[in-house]
Amino acid sequence: MHNLGTVIRFEITRTLKKKTFWIMALGFPLIFAVVGCIIYFSHRATDDASKNLDQQKFSFVVSDESKAIKPVIVTATGGKMDDPAHKQQDIDAVKNGSLDGYIFYPADLVHGTVEVYGKNVDIFNNSRYSSVAQAILSLSASSAVSPNVKAALAGNTSINFTSYRDGAVYDPIKRAILPAVFLVMFYFLIAFFGNQMLTSTTEEKENRVIEMLLTTVEARTLIIGKILSLIMLSIIQGLIVIIPVIVGYLLFHDKLNLPNLDLSSLPVDWGAIGIGFGVFAASFLLFTGLLVAIGAAVPTAKEAGGFFGIVMVLIFGPLYAASLFVSAPHNPFVTFLSLFPFTAPIPLLLRNALGNLDVWQALLGIAILFVTAVIVMSVAVRVFRFGALEYSRKLSLREIFSRK
């Protein structure tokens, strides 16, 4: 493994210098931030609209056939009540601009439609008429009932459920959080880095640099160096994603209406966490090796791309059977998906998080994944070694294994 450090340093440094790495790395936190901002401003706008209802500076008239609207609320919000018989006149007043808005509540609020007419303001502020109509209706309805009924109707009552397993308090959702972190990490690392893994060896072929490399560094050292550097880059990328998310959460979770995460209340199941880590590490090694092997076997990055879809289907296809993992974890099909190395990561990680993965199956799955990862990586070295000079054609499996 002479030169391994040199290979890793070179691969990491040149990747960190690429703009695409940073676009990918910062893209996710950036999207997270943008979505967060949209939610924040949306909430704030809604709250403001609701709070400032009485400050809406526009004239409007309300007709009510339902008898559900309290005139005092209409008056308090700056409107006037009118007889429903004058509906058409009020609509005409809005049409000719002498009235800003008109709201009509039908007799049957369940089957009928509340009609709202307004003088055009602009694409955003036109919603103020409907907001006022909704607010008047909500305030009128809630003023007629007790605070308890109001809370019940609004779904604001809190429920505290306590479940037990083996005589101890057991919260399956909280327990799933820490083991599920490995599932999320695996998903994002493959999604972000899969393509880079695939093209990490095609670059040498496309640049015709492979002949010089093979006479300067052992193929095994080069491939292992590439795989290790990809793992390190994944960790770097993970930190780039996670740190801003954590910082953003800590700074803005109140303003963004995000739920409070009391990490101290999370149950720590070291067994499940250990299994999650084992499956994650073995799966990551296996798929890194597989993608590197595919990249080494084909002449160009473009051709390698065709295989990427197949690998993605193998990895993430089992997600379509996710409901089965919950409802029938001991179904033979679930067992097959959990132990077949190329589909195993998602079922094992998901079932481990859900708490329905037997220990023997978890250990067997990890062993299968690790053994397959070692085999795949040694194949990757052979493929790279013997497919190195195949600049224009794919290497067949027969050729890979027939050469000494």
Partner: protein, 246 residues
């Protein structure tokens, strides 16, 4: 005289096609050896098999008495026929990488790289990406990488391909410098002028076998004192079509 390269009964093919058949020759330590032949005669295949890139069908290909391996202790400088480097990387980074792979410290690799770039007039391009250089400049960088870490065995496959006369002369001078330092040089080429100027001994391959082998003087005497150009034409002249390099 010590033999640094020994090739015995070497045969090689691709599929059903035999490219090299029972080829044997050796290269003495410290000499400059010309591996000559027309396109498709098996020159590059022989070199690739010698360096372990292709597995031979049969025969022995040895460098310093054993099959070549990166960790075998031979200081090799190899300029392959297929040229290429990391196109998106700066010149100096690429040279540092290969220099370190060849066992140099980063500082030593840097000083060697800069000295070479100064010599070939590319010092101001050290931080330029390789794909921003002309083809000839990229060739120079690749040559610079080849001669880093003071190789004891230089194998240059078509080294002047793509070079103008000025750069060809520069390359010849660099090869001569390494000859003077005692390096063994294997020159794979079509350029008979280079061969006559630089080579001590030669082998001419035709259809994967030796059509001529010996010192330049011996080969010329054997062919009635003709120039190497004329000998080349007389051996390959009946071929009215070329082939891919194999």
């Amino acid at each position: 005289m010590t033999q640094i390269i020994q090739i015995k009964d070497f045969s090689m093919g691709f599929g059903d096609v035999t490219v090299i058949k029972d080829l044997s020759f050796h290269v003495n330590k410290g000499e400059t050896f010309g591996l000559l032949g027309s396109n498709g005669s098996g020159k590059t295949t022989t070199i690739r098999a010698l360096l372990g890139i292709y597995p031979p069908r049969s025969g022995e290909l040895l460098i310093s008495g054993k099959p070549y391996s990166v960790s075998g202790g031979v200081r090799l400088g190899y300029l392959p026929e297929e040229r290429g480097l990391y196109k998106k990387e700066p010149v100096i980074d690429t040279m540092l990488y290969f220099g370190q792979l060849k066992g140099l410290t980063r500082e030593r690799a840097y000083s060697e790289a800069m000295a070479f770039l100064e010599r070939v007039g590319l010092a101001d391009k050290a931080k330029t990406r390789l794909d921003k250089l002309s083809g000839g400049q990229q060739q120079k960088v690749q040559l610079g990488i080849t001669i880093m870490a003071d190789p004891e065995l230089l194998i240059l496959d078509e080294p002047t391909k793509g070079f103008d006369p000025v750069n060809r002369r520069l390359l010849m001078n660099i090869i001569e410098d390494h000859q003077k330092k005692g390096a063994t040089v294997v020159l794979v080429t079509h350029q008979m002028e280079e061969v006559e100027r630089l080579c001590d001994r030669i082998i001419l391959l035709k259809d994967g076998a030796a059509a001529a082998y010996g010192t330049v003087k011996e080969v010329r005497e054997k062919h009635g004192g003709k120039s190497l150009d004329d000998i080349f034409i007389s051996i390959y002249g009946d071929e009215d079509k070329g082939g891919d390099n194999a």
